[in-house]
């Protein structure tokens, strides 16, 4: 565990309600689209509703209103795409569902190149219906589950650094996680049939077996009601460099099982609205940085600055950009995130990442020798396994999925929930709104017109926050320390289980409900969580009602 230098003072929270009577008037006039409608009789204490209370078009012109009630809520093309853009989006949609196979595949060479070790065979398996993956369920009578093809969750791995990395330079690899020797920075629990040297005993097994189990704890409210929280634990066994070994073996020899190897779960995230998040002006994100909590509100958002493969490929002498995507904001663009996942999670090399992620490890060397060098990460033409056309279309797809419209905005409980959301200072990190930039590039390519100057309501500041011991995995990632996580966007969150009934919330899916997710918020969010717990049951439900409307 790495201790943060800047301790947060949680004692002086200032509510951040910036709503004037003028705003109230404008909110009421905004109600043309499913708005608040009739004003209730004024109460002795005039209630103040935040300006986003009645907003329905969370994604501006990219909002979908024709799929926002069903499991297709995350899967619809932005309605403001041109015909040519829609065609490219749909091409990318096919790519997103493409399941890759072992090389060589003579009948379908366009599909081969899987792995040789990987976490899943296609994008959709970890982003089911473009949303989150399913949370693994442990069968009755069992204490743990071995991750297989149903798992959309995996472990990130790295060596603990000797000291915190505070500024990225070429010399320190830009503060990137330190690869585990002979493994890398992601644990691939699956493989092609012959991935391992001992494949005949371990068919379709990757670098190691990963088991998931849960520990639980109860949280009790002052009214006596309680919620059981669960936290996923992991056991890593049978690594390829020491078959059969576990952490409790008498003599641990595997590189993977050493005490200084850090590991943390990562879930798949929804993939809609990402182009809009990338189009938020960097200055507007950085303006919210408050590393030392200068305003003394207990919240200290920090920016992550990460290696940018697009810049590096373009020859930039300082290939670093603001981190925007990933659970720790460790990727700068949809392009790097998507193509990094294509190469990592699935094992499909591409123009941005032309080398296999396990290149240079003894697993890869052994595999290539045994298999006659037929699956090197390059096709017979010397080109990567996925070509530029495929790669570009998948990136474009992830940039251009519509944001689902909000639902039930006129519902009294939803509106009260919005008011409480503001009162609890949830918006201190979950920044309601941004306006996207009017011109420029995203991911090294010119942004489309449909993303320009859009007023969006993602409810994220895109910054890192210390979320406390309970959520920490102790694993730094570029400038993010082991306790920091990027604020998750909340748009669409109410459709999570409509899209995938078995989805969970937070970086490892530990929260089965939004209430559980709130209760896990610690660190900089502790005061908001305490204030949430101090609400009565009806008010707590209203907060959740508001979130469910997003």
């Amino acid at each position: 565990m790495i201790i943060k230098n800047n301790k947060i003072n949680n004692t002086n929270i200032k509510l951040n309600i910036k709503v004037s009577a003028l705003v109230i008037a404008s909110v009421l006039s905004l109600s043309a689209c499913g708005g608040s409608g009739d004003e209730t009789t004024p109460t002795p204490e005039e209630k103040v509703y935040p300006s986003y209370t009645d907003i329905t078009a969370s994604g501006g012109d990219t909002t979908t209103f024709d799929a926002s009630e069903s499991g297709h809520g995350f899967s619809t093309p932005s309605p403001n795409l041109t015909a040519a853009e829609l065609e490219l989006h749909l091409e990318g949609d096919l790519g997103f569902e493409t399941a890759f196979t072992t090389a060589p595949n003579d009948a379908h060479p366009e599909l081969d190149g899987l792995g040789p070790v990987f976490n899943n065979t296609d994008c959709n398996s970890c982003h089911q219906r473009d949303g989150r993956n399913s949370t693994p369920q442990i069968a009755a009578g069992k204490t743990r589950i071995k991750l297989g093809s149903e798992a959309g969750i995996f472990l990130r791995i790295s060596k603990a650094p000797d000291e915190p990395c505070l500024e990225g330079t070429a010399a320190n690899n830009y503060c990137a996680p330190i690869a585990v020797p002979d493994f890398g920075d992601q644990l691939f629990h699956r493989g092609v049939l012959k991935a391992r040297p001992d494949w005949e005993q371990n068919k379709f097994i990757g670098q190691a077996d990963v088991y998931l189990s849960y520990e639980t704890k109860a949280i009790t409210y002052s009214d006596g009601s309680s919620v059981t929280l669960k936290k996923p634990l992991f056991d890593v066994e049978n690594p390829y460099d020491a078959p059969g070994e576990t952490k409790s073996s008498a003599n641990v020899t595997s590189n993977l099982l050493q005490d200084d190897v850090l590991m943390g779960w990562r879930n798949g995230m929804p993939v809609f609205g990402l182009g809009l998040l990338e189009a938020i002006p960097e200055a507007d994100i950085v303006a919210k940085v408050d590393s030392d909590d200068a305003n003394n509100d207990g919240i200290s958002g920090r920016a992550n600055y990460v290696f940018d493969a697009v810049k590096a490929q373009a020859g930039d002498s300082n290939p670093v950009s603001l981190g925007r995507f990933g659970w720790k904001a460790n990727t700068p663009s949809v392009r790097v995130q998507s193509l990094g996942a294509l190469r990592g999670d699935i094992g499909i090399t591409n123009p941005l990442f032309p080398d296999e992620s396990i290149k240079g490890t003894s697993l890869h060397d052994h595999y290539l020798t045994r298999s006659g060098f037929v699956d090197t990460g390059a096709g017979i033409d010397g080109e990567p396994e996925a070509d530029a056309e495929f790669s570009d279309s998948v990136v474009f797809y992830a940039e251009t999925l519509a944001v689902p419209a909000r639902r039930r905005v006129a519902d009294a409980d939803v509106r009260e929930g919005a008011r409480l959301f503001e009162r609890l200072n949830c918006s201190g990190c979950h920044t309601p709104s941004f306006v996207t930039k009017a011109s420029g590039d995203i991911g090294g390519a010119e942004m489309i017109a449909g993303h320009k100057s859009q007023t969006i309501y993602p409810f994220t500041d895109m910054l890192l926050h210390d979320m406390g011991e309970g959520l920490a995995d102790g694993r730094p990632d570029f400038l993010a320390d082991g306790s920091e996580w990027r604020t998750r966007p909340l748009w669409g969150i109410g459709l999570t289980k409509t899209v995938n009934p078995q989805a969970g919330f937070l970086h490892d899916g530990r929260a089965a409900t939004l209430e559980e997710a709130i209760l896990w918020h610690g660190g900089e969010a502790q005061q908001s969580t305490d204030d949430f717990m101090a609400l009565n049951a009806a008010e707590r439900a209203q907060v959740v009602d508001f979130l469910m409307s997003l």
Binding site: G71, P77, L94, F204
Partner: protein, 382 residues
């Protein structure tokens, strides 16, 4: 996610209709007649859940069990007759599965069952290696393997001919190890189909969660975070119909069909070894008919999406019903008088004409569902 090839016009139409995200009243009075309509969807949703979706999955689970039993018989007594019995059991299981693709949401997706059962294309290279290096195939071991060496199409590959010149297979050409593998695969198949049925009837996550069927029938109730109202459920059902019509017309048929005879690609034909492709495709659209009409073929009339549409526009309801029937008939007609399999028809001049007729019928149906039926959600006074 399964995509819909929205036409730009359709998108524009839907977008324009969605300007205010709800059925709400138009603030500017127009001389146009009120197009809103009322429909109480509870009975329809209950019926579609119980009598169409769950009934289909229960049937699938029963046929999965029968398929496994037939493989046990084949392993115990290898004979041509027993091999043919397994082939028939495979085709029988294929029917409710393909019909169920018209509502491929919920546990079939969240439990990862779809790729376990129906991954395509196969990984014949690994399949060959597995068979040559393994003896004794137990279900739990197979479940740990990749999806492209298990499920319907791996069984099909073992059970039938090469699909090029014949779909028949002689028992002498099925080794003892292949028969064992087949039995292991069928055991896995039985387990997954049972799990799917249980998810709708007992627990959606095979754990503490409620039955998915109950949750679908009670949207908007306390602690039901799946659907906030019947609007979501009806949207899901209509989108499911659109999804499979799109996939059959623009994927399953169009991908191998290609632009012309020279670009036809037989390697992309689903169920090519068994020559069951056309049966698969027609079952897909029969699945659409099941959801639309509200009952499986031959069952008593109950409420389906047709009743929702009829509440708004009786003529539209009848027209869409006719278009569904026409799509099924034109797919079935692809085989022509000489019973040509789809795999061969894509390379045959006359066959291609018949295929084009079916594609046109599917396209027409898709347009109606997207441009006429789906927008009814906006004028529905819930």
């Amino acid at each position: 996610m399964k995509h819909f090839t929205h036409s730009v016009v359709a998108i524009a139409l839907i977008s324009a209709l969605a300007a205010c995200g709800g059925s709400g009243s138009d603030s500017t009075p127009t001389p146009e007649a009120d197009k809103t309509f009322s429909f109480t969807a509870t009975e329809m949703v209950t019926n579609l859940t119980d009598d169409v979706i769950v009934a289909g999955y229960t049937d699938l689970a029963a046929r999965g069990a029968a398929l496994f039993a037939s493989t046990q018989t084949l392993v115990a007594t290898p004979s041509q007759a027993n091999l043919v019995a397994v082939q028939e059991a495979w085709k029988a299981a294929r029917q409710p599965w393909e019909q169920g693709e018209s509502h491929i949401f919920g546990p079939v997706d969240s439990l990862g069952i779809d790729p376990h059962l129906d991954s395509w294309p196969l990984n014949t290279t690994d399949l060959t290696s597995v068979l040559s290096t393994t003896t004794g195939f137990d279900a739990e071991t197979i479940k740990g393997w990749n999806d492209d060496v298990q499920g319907f199409h791996t069984m099909e590959y073992l059970l039938f001919g090469d699909g090029v010149t014949t779909n028949t297979k002689m028992i002498a050409d099925l080794t003892a190890n292949e028969r064992d593998y087949l039995m292991g695969l069928a055991a896995v198949f039985r387990d997954y189909t049972e799990k799917l049925d249980d998810a709708w009837l007992i627990s959606h996550d095979a754990s503490t969660g409620k039955a998915y069927g109950e949750l679908l029938k009670t949207p908007g109730t306390q602690d039901n975070t799946f659907y906030s109202s019947n609007v979501g459920v009806v949207e899901e059902l209509i989108k499911g119909m659109i999804g499979i019509v799109d996939e059959v017309g623009n994927g399953k048929i169009a991908d191998p069909f290609g632009a012309d005879t020279s670009s036809a690609d037989t390697s992309k034909v689903e169920s090519q070894y068994s020559w069951n492709s056309l049966t698969d495709f027609s079952n897909n659209i029969i699945g659409v008919r099941n959801v639309y009409q509200g009952e499986l073929a031959g069952a008593a009339d109950k409420q389906g999406i047709v009743d929702f549409v009829a509440a708004a526009d009786k003529d539209m309801a009848a027209r869409v019903g006719t278009e569904i029937s026409n799509a099924i008939l034109t797919i079935q007609a692809i085989e022509g008088a000489n019973k040509m399999p789809f795999r061969q028809a894509i390379s045959d001049v006359e066959g291609r004409k018949r295929i084009q007729t079916a594609v046109d019928a599917l396209s027409k149906l898709q347009t109606s569902l997207e441009s006429d039926v789906l927008p009814l959600l906006k004028t529905w006074k819930v």
